[in-house]
C-alpha cells in the first residue's frame, strides 16, 4: 500500500517534556484521517513537525514514498502540504486577496500583478463553494469566512495534503456542516486530509481512520466505521468515561443575580458590544449562555464580575438585591460572588505563586489567614491540603507546587476548589471546560451540578453546544451583544439553537424596539 504521508518513529522533546515519543503515523491518498488526543497529547506538535514549524529530534518523514527533510514551512509548501491553524495566521489589516497571495505574489518589475491570481482564486472559490469577498479586510469578516480564506490560501498553493487544526472550534453547527462538505470534496479528488480534534462526534461524522495519541505516545490507529465513540474516548483518556451528567430537575428559588438594561459601547463608541441585556439567575438553577465566540459574552461576564467598569448609567446589576454595578471586585466577592474565569492562566491563577498561595488569593486578608498583617502559614497550609484532598488536585509537590508547572486540568481544579469552597451564593463559570480533556470535563460538570444542588445560583458561558445541552437548566443565546433566544434544554435541539447563534433566527424577548427578523 502506498501512503501519501508517512511519519516514522518521530520523537520530539522540549526541555524536559517529551511531546512526541516514537510516533509512527501514516495517511493514505484520498483519506480523511483524524488525530485524536487530549490536550498535551502531542497532536499539534506532530503536525507542526510535518508542516516544518519544528524539526523532529529523530525519525523520518516520507511523502509519496520519498524521504524528505522539512525544515520550515516553505519546504512544506514545496511538498504541497498546507495547514489551517487553530488560531488563524492572517493579517488583520490586509484584504482577503492580499492574505491569500502573501508570500506567493505574482510580480512584474517588483510590482504586484493581481489580475491573474484573482481569476485563479475566484475559480477555486466557485469550484469548492468557498464563498469569500476578496476585497474585504480580514478584521471585518466573520470567523467562518476567515477560515475559508485560510483554506483558499492552501488551495492556491496547490496543497495536496491538508492539515486542519481544531477546525470546528469557532464555527456554528451550520458552518461545520458546510466545512465538512468541502473537506469531503477534497478527499474525493484524492487529496489527503488530516484533522486534529478532540471532538469525537466529528470524527465519526467525517473521518475514515483515526490515530489516537496519549501523553506523547501512539496508542492506536483504528477504522472509524467499526469503532464506537465510547471506545474512542476510552483510547484517548485511557479509562471509561461517561458523557451524561446525572442531574435531577432544577428547583429554582429566589433571584440571586439580576442584570437590567446592560449596554456597552466599544472603545471608540462606534459599535454596541452589548445591547439591552436583561436576565435573571435564580438560586438552584444553572443558566447557560450559548453563542459563538466574540458575541459579547466575555464583556458581559467582565461587567458582572467587575473586571471591566460600566459607564452606562441606565445599566444595573444586582446581587442578592444589592446593587453591585459599580462596586469593587473584592466587595462583589464579599457579597457572595464566585468566579471561574475564562482565561485561567491570565486571571485565574498567579502562575508563579505556589498552589497554597493561590488558594488564598482572594481571601488572604480574612482573619482565618492573617493576624495583624502577618500571614498564618499553618492555617493556609492546612486549608490547602484539605482542598487538595477534597478536589483531588494532582501536582508534583503538593501545596508547594508552582501553579505554572501544573497541567491545565489540575489548574482548573485548583480554581474550582478555591471558588466553590469559599462562601458564595452565585457561581459564574466562563468556559469552565475550555481546553480540558474528557476526564476533566466530566469532573467539572459534576462539580457544577453539585453546586446547583447546594442551592447556589450558577451562570455558565460556553461555546460548546454539547456542554450547554448537558448541564443547563435554562439556555440563553447571545448574538451580536443581544440575547436572542431563551430555551429549555429538554425542549430544543442543537440545530435550533445553532440557528439563533448564527443570527438567522431570533425571539421577541421583550417589548423593546428590537426589530424582528422572522
Amino acid at each position: 500500500m502506498n501512503y501519501a504521508i508517512e511519519m516514522i518513529n518521530i520523537t520530539k522533546t522540549f526541555g524536559t517534556l517529551i511531546a512526541n515519543d516514537n510516533i509512527t503515523f501514516q495517511v493514505k491518498p484520498g483519506e480523511i484521517h483524524a488525530i485524536l488526543g487530549e490536550n498535551g497529547a502531542g497532536k499539534s506538535t506532530l503536525m507542526s513537525i510535518l508542516f516544518g514549524l519544528y524539526t523532529a529530534d529523530s525519525g523520518t518523514i516520507l511523502i509519496n514514498g520519498q524521504e524528505v527533510k522539512i525544515k520550515n514551512p516553505n519546504d512544506a509548501n514545496r511538498y504541497k502540504i498546507g495547514m489551517v491553524h487553530q488560531h488563524f495566521k492572517l493579517v488583520d489589516v490586509f484584504s482577503v486577496i492580499d492574505n491569500i497571495l502573501l508570500g506567493a505574489e505574482t510580480t512584474k518589475h517588483g510590482f504586484m500583478q493581481n489580475d491573474v491570481p484573482r481569476k485563479a482564486i475566484e475559480e477555486l472559490s466557485i469550484r469548492y463553494a468557498l464563498k469569500v469577498d476578496l476585497d474585504s479586510y480580514i478584521k471585518d469578516i466573520s470567523v467562518g469566512m476567515q477560515q475559508r480564506v485560510e483554506i483558499l490560501k492552501m488551495l492556491y498553493r496547490n496543497a495536496d495534503i491538508l492539515i486542519f487544526d481544531e477546525p470546528t472550534a469557532v464555527l456554528t453547527p451550520q458552518e461545520i456542516e458546510g466545512l465538512f462538505k468541502v473537506i469531503k470534496a477534497f478527499a474525493a479528488e484524492g487529496k489527503s486530509i488530516i484533522i486534529i480534534t478532540h471532538k469525537l462526534n466529528e470524527i465519526k461524522a467525517i473521518a475514515q481512520r483515526c490515530t489516537v495519541l496519549r501523553k506523547g505516545k501512539h496508542v492506536a490507529t483504528v477504522d472509524v466505521s467499526n469503532t464506537s465513540v465510547e471506545r474512542l474516548a476510552e483510547l484517548m483518556v485511557g479509562r471509561d468515561v461517561s458523557f451524561e451528567v446525572e442531574k435531577s430537575k432544577a428547583n429554582p428559588k429566589e433571584v440571586v443575580l439580576e442584570v437590567k438594561n446592560l449596554n456597552l459601547q466599544n472603545k471608540d463608541r462606534t459599535k454596541m458590544i452589548l445591547k439591552n441585556v436583561n436576565f435573571q439567575v435564580k438560586a438552584g438553577e444553572i443558566v447557560c449562555i450559548a453563542g459563538i465566540e466574540g458575541n459579547g459574552q466575555t464583556q458581559l461576564i467582565n461587567l458582572i464580575t467587575g473586571l471591566d467598569k460600566l459607564h452606562d448609567l441606565n445599566s444595573h446589576i444586582t446581587l442578592n438585591g444589592a446593587d453591585i454595578t459599580n462596586v469593587s471586585i473584592r466587595k462583589r466577592f464579599e457579597l457572595g460572588m464566585s468566579h471561574i474565569p475564562e482565561d485561567r492562566q491570565k486571571y485565574g491563577l498567579i502562575l508563579d505563586y505556589t498552589l497554597s498561595e493561590n488558594m488564598i488569593s482572594n481571601t488572604y486578608y480574612f482573619d482565618k489567614f492573617q493576624k495583624n498583617g502577618l500571614l498564618k502559614f499553618e492555617a493556609i497550609s492546612a486549608y490547602t491540603n484539605q482542598l487538595i484532598e477534597q478536589y483531588d488536585i494532582r501536582s508534583s509537590m503538593g501545596e508547594y507546587t508552582k501553579t505554572r508547572s501544573m497541567s491545565g486540568g489540575n489548574q482548573q481544579k485548583a480554581i474550582i476548589a478555591r471558588e466553590t469552597s469559599r462562601e458564595h451564593h452565585l457561581l459564574i463559570a466562563a468556559q469552565p471546560t475550555r481546553g480540558l480533556d474528557v476526564g476533566a470535563i466530566e469532573y467539572v460538570h459534576k462539580t457544577i451540578v453539585a453546586q446547583r444542588d447546594l442551592n447556589h445560583a450558577i451562570l455558565v458561558v460556553s461555546l460548546e453546544l454539547d456542554e450547554v445541552m448537558t448541564i443547563s437548566d435554562r439556555i440563553l443565546v447571545m448574538y451580536e451583544g443581544e440575547i436572542v433566544g431563551e430555551f429549555d434544554p429538554l425542549k430544543t435541539t442543537v440545530e435550533e439553537i445553532g440557528l439563533y447563534m448564527s443570527g438567522s433566527k431570533r425571539m421577541e424577548l421583550s417589548t423593546d424596539d428590537i426589530p424582528s427578523i422572522h
Binding site: 522533546t13 526541555g15 524536559t16 517529551i18 516514537n22 529530534d57 464580575t305 473586571l307 469593587s328 471586585i329 473584592r330 466587595k331 462583589r332 466577592f333 468566579h339 474565569p341 491570565k346 486571571y347 485565574g348 491563577l349 498567579i350 502562575l351 508563579d352 505563586y353 498561595e357 488569593s361 482572594n362 488572604y364 486578608y365 492573617q370 498583617g373 502577618l374 500571614l375
Partner: protein, 381 residues
C-alpha cells in the same frame, strides 16, 4: 534551643545556601567579571607582574587594614539600601531606575533638616533620616501615580525625574545655610544630626564607620520579612507576578503599585541619609550630574537576584571592589582605568547572572534527553 543545636542548624542552612543554584550562579558571575577585569588590566598594565599586583590589590585591598574594612562597611550601607530599593520595586513588577533621583531628593531633605532644624542628638538624626525617607517616597510616588493613572511607563518617568532631582538639588543646595560650597566642598557641620557610631569606630580604628551598616542590615531583614511573611508582601508580589490575576482576585492593584514605588523611593531616601549624615560624609554633588548610585543599585539587586538578604552581601561586595579599585592606583593604574575595570566587573556580573541560568537550563535538558534514551534502550531489551 541549645547553642550547639543552633550552630548545627546554621551550618546546615549555610550548606544548603552554598549548594543552591543561586549561589553557583553568583559565584560564576563574580569570577567571570573579575576575569574580564583582569584581561583589561593585562592590556593596560606596564608588565604582567604589575597586572597581577593590581588584581591582588583589587581583591584584597578591602581587607588590608581594619580601617579599610571599616570603610568598606561604611560605604556599603547606602549601596545596600539603594539595592533594596531597586529589588523591592522589581518584586512588584516595576523597574525603579529612578533610585538616583529619589536618593538626591532624600539627600536634600536630610540636609535641610540637619542644618535648619535644631533638635537634641540622636533624635535629630532620626528626624533627618525620616525626612529623607519622606523625600524619596514622594519621588517614588510620582512615577507610581503616573503609571496607574495614565499608564505612563515608570522607566521613562523615573529617568526624567532623575534630571529634575539633579537640577532641584543644584538649586536647593546653594542655600548657604545648608551647604558651604565655596570653601571646603565638604558640607558644614551638623553634629546633632550625625549618625551614632555606637563605638564601631573603636572596632575599626581610623575608619568612618558608624551604625549605618547596622541600619542597612536591619532594613534588609525587615524587607525580607515583609515580602515573605506579611499580607502586604503577599499583595505586592502577587501584583508583581500578574496584574490581571491580582485584579481578578480583588487585590487593589493600583494602590499596591503606588505603595511599592513609595517604599522603593523611601529606601533610596534612607540611603541618602546614610550617605550625607555621617561625621565625615561624602561631599554633596552640587553640580548638575545625576548621582550614579541608583545604577549601582540596579547591579546590586541583579547580583543578589533581588533577594533582600543577598543584597547585604552584594552591596558589601560592590563597596569592597570599589575600595580595591581605588587602591589599584598605587600600582600605576590611573583613575579612569580603575573605574573602567570596576564597571566591567559589575557589568559582567550582571550579564553572567543570566548566562549562568542559561547554561544550567541546557545542562538539565541534556540530562533529561540522555535519561530518555536510556529508558528507551531498556524497553527495547
Amino acid at each position: 534551643m541549645t547553642f550547639q543545636a543552633f550552630i548545627k542548624k546554621l551550618v546546615a542552612s549555610l550548606k544548603k545556601a552554598v549548594s543552591s543554584s543561586a549561589f553557583t550562579n553568583t559565584f560564576f558571575a563574580i569570577s567571570s567579571g573579575v576575569l574580564v577585569g583582569f584581561v583589561i588590566m593585562l592590556l593596560t598594565a606596564s608588565s604582567l607582574s604589575n597586572a597581577v599586583n593590581g588584581l591582588f590589590r583589587l581583591l584584597t585591598g578591602g581587607f588590608q587594614s581594619p580601617s579599610m574594612l571599616g570603610n568598606v562597611l561604611f560605604s556599603a550601607a547606602p549601596l545596600i539600601l539603594v539595592g533594596l530599593s531597586v529589588a523591592f520595586a522589581f518584586k512588584t513588577g516595576l523597574f525603579n531606575i529612578g533610585a538616583s533621583g529619589q536618593f538626591m531628593i532624600g539627600g536634600i531633605f536630610a540636609l535641610y533638616v540637619a542644618n535648619l532644624v535644631s533638635l537634641p542628638p540622636v533624635i535629630h538624626f532620626i528626624v533627618a533620616a525620616l525626612a529623607a525617607i519622606v523625600g524619596g517616597a514622594i519621588w517614588g510616588f510620582i512615577p507610581g501615580l503616573l503609571k496607574v493613572r495614565y499608564n505612563v511607563n515608570e522607566v521613562i518617568t523615573c529617568i526624567m525625574l532623575n534630571y529634575v532631582a539633579a537640577y532641584t538639588s543644584v538649586m536647593a543646595v546653594e542655600n548657604p545655610a545648608v551647604y558651604d560650597r565655596g570653601i571646603t566642598a565638604i558640607s558644614i557641620d551638623y553634629p546633632t544630626a550625625e549618625i551614632p557610631r555606637l563605638g564601631l569606630n573603636q572596632l575599626f580604628p581610623g575608619s568612618y564607620i558608624d551604625m549605618s551598616i547596622l541600619i542597612a542590615i536591619a532594613v534588609a531583614i525587615l524587607i525580607w520579612f515583609i515580602l515573605k511573611k506579611t499580607t502586604l508582601g503577599y499583595q505586592l508580589k502577587a501584583v508583581g507576578f500578574s496584574k490581571d490575576a491580582s485584579k481578578y482576585a480583588g487585590i487593589p492593584v493600583s494602590r499596591n503599585m503606588i505603595l511599592s514605588m513609595m517604599i522603593a523611593g523611601g529606601l533610596a531616601g534612607l540611603a541618602a541619609a546614610m550617605n550625607y549624615l555621617p561625621a565625615n560624609p561624602d561631599y554633596f554633588r552640587s553640580f548638575s550630574q545625576i548621582n550614579p548610585i541608583g545604577f549601582e543599585g540596579i547591579s546590586i539587586a541583579l547580583i543578589a537576584q533581588s533577594h533582600p538578604i543577598g543584597i547585604i552581601f552584594s552591596g558589601i561586595f560592590i563597596s569592597f571592589i570599589k575600595k580595591g579599585a581605588l587602591l589599584m592606583q598605587f600600582f600605576g593604574f590611573n583613575k579612569e582605568i580603575t573605574s573602567i575595570i570596576m564597571s566591567v566587573i559589575i557589568y559582567m556580573i550582571s550579564i553572567s547572572a543570566f548566562v549562568g541560568q542559561f547554561i544550567k537550563k541546557r545542562k538539565l535538558m541534556k540530562k533529561q534527553k540522555s535519561k530518555l534514551i536510556d529508558q528507551r534502550g531498556d524497553a527495547n531489551v
